[in-house]
């Protein structure tokens, strides 16, 4: 009886041990595979042409929020595409027509899958397939743009090339060849100049020698008359100083004169009025005319004017 009790206790312990181990294994598996502990995991299937390093355990997002993970990848040889099983843990439903987008990572990130929800009010059943697209990410974008850019660049270069060919043909065609003829003329001028130089080489040489002699003479002269030149320069210096004073005075005078002229110009003062006021001239003119008339009249009839005037009284 004792042994029977012992045995029962043993069986209990064994049962307990194995049960605990199985429970731990189950829970551990669920946790490690990122599946919900007590609910049945919900699966979605997506096909991608290529998966770019997607691994089981990579995250599934909706608008950046983690809703599940990649459970399994299976390459389908017949369709040349990869069937991805997504395990969805979050409590939500996927509208019909939603898409799964495979997002390529940045430099260090992992590949993720983003589910883009459609606005459809009907929901798909779990275990169904949704469409998959590949978003090549920022590097992909750069690559695409780069390709476009390269195409454009190629076209531009082609255009440039054809332009250059045209320029080339227009400039160097044999019939009308301005550049060539210009260059030929230049060449001819150069040749002529050289010939001239060669011909007159002796003259030029002697000219240079003469020039050298002149300079030498001048040098000697300067050496000999150094003292005189010095005093001359001193005098010149003094003269120039005086000239400076003179120039200053002259400057002052000019300024004053300018002021006077300005005043005259601005019709100020008697001189100014005289210059610009016509009345004086008019008066003088009429005076001279009248005087003329008077003299004429006096000549015509001196008695009339001189009747009352005695010569004696006048002088």
């Amino acid at each position: 009886m004792n042994s029977e009790k012992f045995s029962t206790s043993n069986e209990l312990k064994i049962g307990l041990t194995i049960l605990v181990a199985i429970a731990i294994a189950f829970v551990g598996f669920r946790i490690m595979r990122d599946q919900p502990l007590f609910r049945q995991a919900k699966f979605l299937y997506v096909k991608f042409d290529r998966v770019d390093g997607l691994l089981p355990g990579n995250v599934v997002h909706i608008k950046g929020f983690k809703v599940g993970s990649v459970k399994e990848l299976q390459y389908l040889f017949k369709e040349d595409s990869t069937l991805v099983t997504l395990s969805i843990t979050a409590d939500f439903n996927v509208p019909k027509g939603s898409k799964a987008i495979l997002k390529e990572p940045g430099p260090l990130g992992a590949v993720t899958i983003e589910i883009i929800q459609s606005t459809n009010s009907e929901y798909i059943e779990w275990g169904a397939s949704i469409d998959g697209e590949i978003d090549s990410g920022i590097f992909g974008t750069f690559a695409d743009k780069g390709e476009e850019l390269a195409d454009k660049l190629t076209k531009s270069l082609k255009d440039l090339n054809s332009l250059l060919v045209k320029v080339d043909s227009s400039l160097y065609s044999k019939n009308k060849d301005p550049i060539n003829s210009t260059l030929t003329s230049f060449e001819k001028i150069g040749r002529d100049a050289r010939q001239l130089l060669e011909k007159r080489k002796a003259d030029i040489d002697s000219m240079i020698v003469s020039m050298s002699n002149i300079t030498q003479n001048f040098d000697d002269l300067t050496e000999e008359n150094k003292a005189e030149i010095d005093s001359m320069l001193t005098n010149l210096s003094i003269a120039s100083a005086e000239l400076e004073v003179l120039s200053k005075n002259l400057n002052k005078t000019t300024t004053s004169f300018n002021q006077v002229l300005d005043k005259i110009n601005s019709k100020e003062g008697s001189l100014g009025k005289m210059v610009y006021d016509e009345s004086l001239y008019n008066n003088l003119d009429s005076l001279s005319f009248n005087l003329n008339e008077l003299i004429k009249n006096i000549q015509k009839d001196p008695k009339k004017y001189l009747k009352h005037m005695r010569l004696i009284e006048v002088f």
Partner: protein, 245 residues
């Protein structure tokens, strides 16, 4: 020569055990008590081994990978996968070679030198069925269970150590662990522990069953059982890795 003789003896013992597998009534009683002794009573030491293996592995992996070249969660990947594939099975195997192997060989050796086995035989008991089969069975069935406990606690220990030491948060650790978690690895680890269970119990039974020479003989048998168990665990580990990975 002696080694060949021993190999023959060992094979014969296993053959005899295999032939007596059908005598369930003979070893039923012993089977359950061995389950408890090998499995249930080893749980505390296995938990300890698991937790500390995981904790130390986390700290040391973080120390070794202390560069900005890798994201921190890689530590979690390395720790979890190392524990699942290798350490939970091998370290608990080595520990159990001492704990379980020594007990089995001492038990059987003492029974042999005190002629209890002869007494069983003379009473008409199949001593191999009565003594060896339940121990080997308990070994191969309970070791995978212990492996599950060890690996789970190893990962938990690593996670706690990583979080407590500020190496990486628990969520990061789990992210890394999940990244390289493959169910095949768990199967592989369980297969390893299954093989180790067989290696330890069979070698210990063999050494104890054929012990001779009194108390000293029992001591020798126990030493040899422990040492050989350790050696064959490492050998089996290598062979399994080479064949299966």
């Amino acid at each position: 020569m002696n080694a060949l003789k021993q190999l023959g003896q060992y094979t014969l013992l296993l053959y005899q055990a295999l032939r007596s597998v059908t005598e369930f009534s003979t070893y039923r009683q012993n089977l359950f008590s061995e389950f408890v002794k090998i499995g249930y009573q080893s749980i505390p030491i296995i938990m300890l081994v698991g937790i500390f293996t995981g904790a130390v592995l986390t700290l040391q992996t973080a120390y070794q990978l202390d560069t900005d070249l890798y994201p921190a969660y890689i530590v979690g990947s390395i720790v979890a996968q190392s524990i699942i594939i290798e350490l939970a099975a091998v370290i608990s195997g080595l520990v159990l070679a001492g704990k379980v192997g020594a007990r089995i060989s001492t038990e059987l050796g003492t029974m042999r030198v005190s002629e209890q086995i002869d007494a069983l035989e003379s009473m008409g008991f199949n001593s191999v069925a009565f003594l060896v089969i339940p121990r080997i069975f308990a070994g191969i069935l309970m070791f995978p269970v212990l492996y599950i406990i060890a690996s789970t606690l190893g990962i938990i220990g690593g996670l706690v150590a990583g979080a407590a030491d500020g190496i990486l948060p628990a969520a990061e650790f789990m992210k890394g662990g999940r990244l390289f978690f493959f169910p095949e690895d768990v199967v592989f680890g369980m297969l390893k522990s299954f093989v180790f269970g067989f290696v330890i119990t069979s070698i210990s039974c063999f050494k104890g069953y054929y012990a001779f020479g009194g108390a000293e003989g029992v001591g020798n048998a126990t030493t040899q059982a422990t040492v050989l168990s350790c050696i064959y665990i490492l050998l089996a580990d290598f062979v399994l890795a080479a064949i299966l990975l």
